[in-house]
């Protein structure tokens, strides 16, 4: 089986009058990470949302495994995990329930796998508390546990370290490194450096 790759050809995106993405191009091979940088408003989020097919670029294509992702978006979506600004957690569910419902619609989950993932992000102590009682950093950790549970080739992470302490940032770096080690790909929008430099990281600078 050929390893999946992500290629982006000449993406142009307009939002009203603003030319947000101006000919973005890059290619990513298995085991590679792309760090998208740029000031606020430079289009980091727009790029990630265009990559996963939520936004339609005016020009250009995204190729996954050599195929235009637009042809079969649903299959493409089953191969990616997206972490947006909001962690997609419900305040009135516990952390564990949240993962059960969120990740459960993507893949079958065993209780053991869930426990393991919650343990990874240091949530053993509070995973049965309602999310409304958790801090922003703790919520972020739950979301990271969700991403880690999705065993998919492509991760798209929008500011994964937001609200996290040093330890949490370390965790993000470890998770990314693991994803790369098993032949996955990561595209992440980050304005800080990762605390520990992940091998195979390339950078893409977006001008505002």
């Amino acid at each position: 089986m050929r390893e999946p790759t992500l290629e982006v050809e000449n993406l142009h995106l307009w939002r009203g009058d603003r030319h947000v993405l101006r000919g973005v191009r890059f290619a990513l091979a298995p085991g590679e990470c792309l760090q998208v940088r740029g000031a606020n408003g430079a289009g980091k989020t727009s790029l990630l949302r265009t990559l996963c097919g939520l936004m339609y670029p005016e020009e250009g294509r995204v190729l996954f495994d050599g195929k235009d992702v637009r042809v079969d978006l649903r299959t493409f979506h089953s191969k990616l995990a997206y972490l947006g600004h909001e962690p997609a957690l419900k305040a009135d569910l516990t952390a564990r329930e949240n993962l059960l419902y969120w990740i459960g619609i993507r893949r079958r989950l065993s209780g053991a796998a869930l426990d393991a993932a919650l343990g990874r992000v240091g949530a053993e102590g509070w995973c049965d508390r309602l999310v409304r009682t958790l801090s922003a950093g703790q919520r972020r950790r739950v979301a990271l546990a969700g991403i880690a549970l999705l065993v998919v080739p492509l991760w798209l992470l929008d500011e994964p370290t937001a609200h996290l302490d040093t330890q949490g940032q370390e965790l993000v770096a470890t998770l990314i490194a693991e994803q790369l080690a098993r032949g996955g790909m990561v595209v992440t929008a980050l304005h800080h450096e990762l605390p520990r430099v992940v091998d195979n990281t390339r950078r893409l600078e977006l001008a505002p």
Binding site: R49, G53, S78, K79, L93, W102, I105, R107, V152, R182
Partner: protein, 250 residues
């Protein structure tokens, strides 16, 4: 649906890490829809105020009429179908606010759209949950209001049946406008403005069925028309709502 399983498994083959022992098999669409439904029901029972508000509103509105018109039951019986249906329509409109708002806000809709499942199915599940939580309780409580309006007891089954079917159609039709107004910060009166014209046929057939139930006429024809509307809405509304949700995420 089953075709997705192996493809994903194959991909994950190399990638499956030791810590995830169960393997990366995708959940089938039906299971995903069930989970979505269960989640919305769980959430609603934890936050009961959203459940109770439309019902309280419905009862309040139907109580207003005797006070505004007259306490004479014979006169109230005349207007009961209209009162019940207009109140049901407004109550379901009130409940529509809650249908997608939270999920849009916290990024859940985004995750649904990127889940690899048909968004139409997932939204279908959400709409079903919404109807179970608002339409069905409304039909259960309607007999109380009906009796207070002087409706004979024999008419109650017909009224309940028409409200059960009618609210299903209303939830479905309303889901389209609720999804369309997602991208708008202050939608205010826009939601009723979009929903009411589209709900008009439901109101007409529903009120007619109720009227015939009260008079003891043959209520099957309007009930069938109502069911036809519901069936049409079942097939088309989730698709339209899914399109609208995707537009709001763009």
């Amino acid at each position: 649906m089953n075709m997705r399983g192996p493809a994903l498994g194959e991909l994950a083959g190399a990638a499956v890490a030791a810590e995830v022992s169960s393997g990366g098999r995708g959940a089938p669409a039906l299971e995903a829809a069930q989970l979505t439904l269960r989640r919305d029901l769980t959430l609603a029972f934890r936050k009961r105020s959203q459940l109770v508000q439309p019902l309280a509103f419905f009862v309040m509105v139907t109580l207003l009429f005797p006070l505004a018109i007259s306490p004479e039951l014979s006169r109230l019986r005349e207007v009961a179908p209209g009162v019940l249906w207009v109140a049901a329509l407004l109550a379901s409109l009130l409940a529509l606010e809650f249908l997608f708002r939270d999920d849009a806000h916290d990024g859940t809709l985004e995750q649904y759209a990127l889940s690899g499942h048909s968004l139409t199915w997932l939204l279908g599940a959400k709409i079903t949950a919404h109807w179970l939580l608002t339409g069905l309780p409304l039909a259960m409580i309607a007999p109380l209001s009906a009796l207070s309006l002087g409706v004979p007891l024999g008419a109650v089954p017909g009224i309940v049946a028409s409200i059960v079917v009618g609210t299903l159609a209303l939830s479905l039709i309303g889901s389209i406008s609720a999804a369309l107004t997602l991208g708008i910060k202050r939608s205010g009166a826009l939601l009723p403005l979009l929903t009411l014209p589209l709900s008009l046929p439901v109101l007409i057939f529903g009120a007619r069925a109720t009227e015939l139930a009260i008079r003891g006429g043959p209520l099957l024809p309007p009930l069938e028309l109502l069911a036809a509307l519901a069936v049409l809405a079942v097939t088309l509304a989730p698709l339209a709502a899914a399109t609208a949700v995707r537009i709001s995420l763009e």
